[in-house]
């Protein structure tokens, strides 16, 4: 419980996260207003959720921050589990509001996207690198590679589980 409270405080006191949420909502609103009957805004604003996850995870690797975290909570498996859980729960309202503004989309999908991005961010420990990998896949390479295969539900869920497990193993095993 203590760890969960600390993780929630961390998320709440990072200006970059609040800024990302506000920008995501602003872009959603803009697209919904510009093209009410036009293309789905969700593919564009998904980028906001990717960035949210990346920043939540990589903020640990600013300066010696991860040392402080591990000194406070040395049980790393439990730490990573709690972090993932808190991020998941904190993203739910953000996703629900986005879907309400857009009038379309699936909040669960957006939450999973954020958790996946956080796992990739934890693995890479560097925000720009994680952004290039994730956005590069979702926006540049993906459209060519998955060519007209619409992403069904199980696919992001499966990848999220794999990424979260990999990130947990990395956190537990590597030197901080």
């Amino acid at each position: 419980m203590n760890t969960a409270r600390a993780e929630l405080l961390k998320l709440a006191t990072l200006p970059a996260l609040a800024l990302t949420v506000v920008l995501t909502w602003a872009v959603t609103t803009l697209i919904a207003l510009v093209a009410p009957d036009g293309p789905d805004p969700i593919p564009v604003v998904r980028a906001g959720f990717l960035v949210l996850g990346v920043l939540a995870a990589t903020s640990e690797y600013d300066g010696g921050h991860i040392h402080t975290t591990l000194l406070c909570t040395p049980r790393r498996g439990r730490l990573q589990f709690t972090r993932t859980l808190v991020l998941t729960l904190a993203t739910v309202p953000v996703a629900v509001v986005t879907v309400l503004i857009a009038g379309t989309g699936d909040p669960v999908h957006l939450v999973l996207t954020t958790v996946l991005a956080a796992a990739v961010g934890t693995l890479l420990r560097h925000a720009p690198a994680a952004v290039v990998v994730l956005l590069g896949y979702y926006y540049v390479l993906g459209p060519f590679v998955r060519d007209r295969v619409d992403d069904s539900m199980w696919l992001p869920a499966g990848w999220t589980v794999v990424a979260v497990l990999a990130a947990t193993v990395a956190v537990v095993r590597r030197d901080a």
Binding site: N2, T3, R5, A6, E7, L9, K10, T13, L14, P15, A16, S59, D62, G63, G64, H65, H67, T68, T69, L70, L71, C72, T73, P74, R75, D175, A176
Partner: protein, 248 residues
């Protein structure tokens, strides 16, 4: 949890047979020593000798291939609320630059179930109250170190582990740190600090452990390690690979 002032009972720090390799590089070879309650133990060695690596293994941040490192009888990672047992100061502030100093201490306190009132107490203690509302990114090196120290003191621990504690402090800060550590030890705390500044160390410590190229080459009381040499500094140069006219 520590008792009232004057009655701290710091646990012993015990490091035994620690070996650490990173890739093909051997960082530490059979490192072992103890730091006792009521005493300030100085951990001395040139740059890159393995001081920080040893302290990071002691604090559960890095893993050793062999050996044990215990604080008050347990590995650091097995303490449920470690901040109430051990306070640690590593390089830098340990905080994210876009949080305020106070917000940083609040989440640290929350993680170990410490009351919020402790945040204001330690801010006062390290004289950081005025800038507590500013983002850590605006802090000078010295202010960042004081924030790190504030976090280390949140749980009122009876064991202190400090990596180069006077780095970045001004003359006043150095004197304050020295007196603070002496007072904590006099109250019964275990204090382990690393340094490469001999003159500084000689005035603060009771016991000395000297490390060079990943091996412990001397350990004992300040008088014992200094031996027949006029000063600790002379003893240090005689013991380590750092000659007075050496690489520099």
């Amino acid at each position: 949890m520590a008792g009232p002032a004057g009655a701290l009972t710091g646990g012993v720090i015990t490091i035994e047979h620690v070996h650490k390799r990173r890739g093909r590089t051997t960082i530490l070879t059979d490192v072992g020593f103890t730091a006792r309650p009521g005493r300030v133990t100085g951990f001395l060695g040139p740059n890159g000798a393995g001081k920080s690596s040893t302290l990071r293994i002691l604090l559960g941040l890095d893993r050793a291939q062999q050996g044990t490192a215990l604080v008050a009888g347990r590995p650091y990672g097995q303490w449920r609320r470690p901040l109430t047992v051990v306070g640690a100061l590593l390089d830098g502030s340990g905080a994210h630059r876009s949080r305020t100093g106070r917000a940083h201490l609040r989440w640290v306190a929350a993680s170990n179930g410490l009351p919020r009132s402790r945040v204001d107490e330690v801010l006062e203690l390290v004289d950081l109250t005025v800038v507590a509302g500013q983002r850590v990114g605006t802090y000078s090196l010295g202010l960042g170190r004081r924030l790190g120290l504030a976090a280390a003191l949140l749980g009122d621990p009876a064991v202190l582990v400090l990596d180069e504690p006077v780095n970045g402090l001004d003359a006043g800060g150095i004197r304050w740190m020295r007196e603070f550590l002496r007072r904590r030890a006099a109250e019964g705390a275990t204090v382990l600090l690393s340094s490469h500044l001999m003159g500084e160390l000689a005035e603060t410590v009771d016991d000395v452990v000297v490390i060079d190229r990943g091996r412990i080459i001397a350990a004992g009381t300040l008088a014992g390690v200094t031996g027949d040499h006029p000063t600790l500094e002379d003893a240090y140069f005689a013991l380590t690979s750092t000659g007075t006219r050496g690489r520099w």
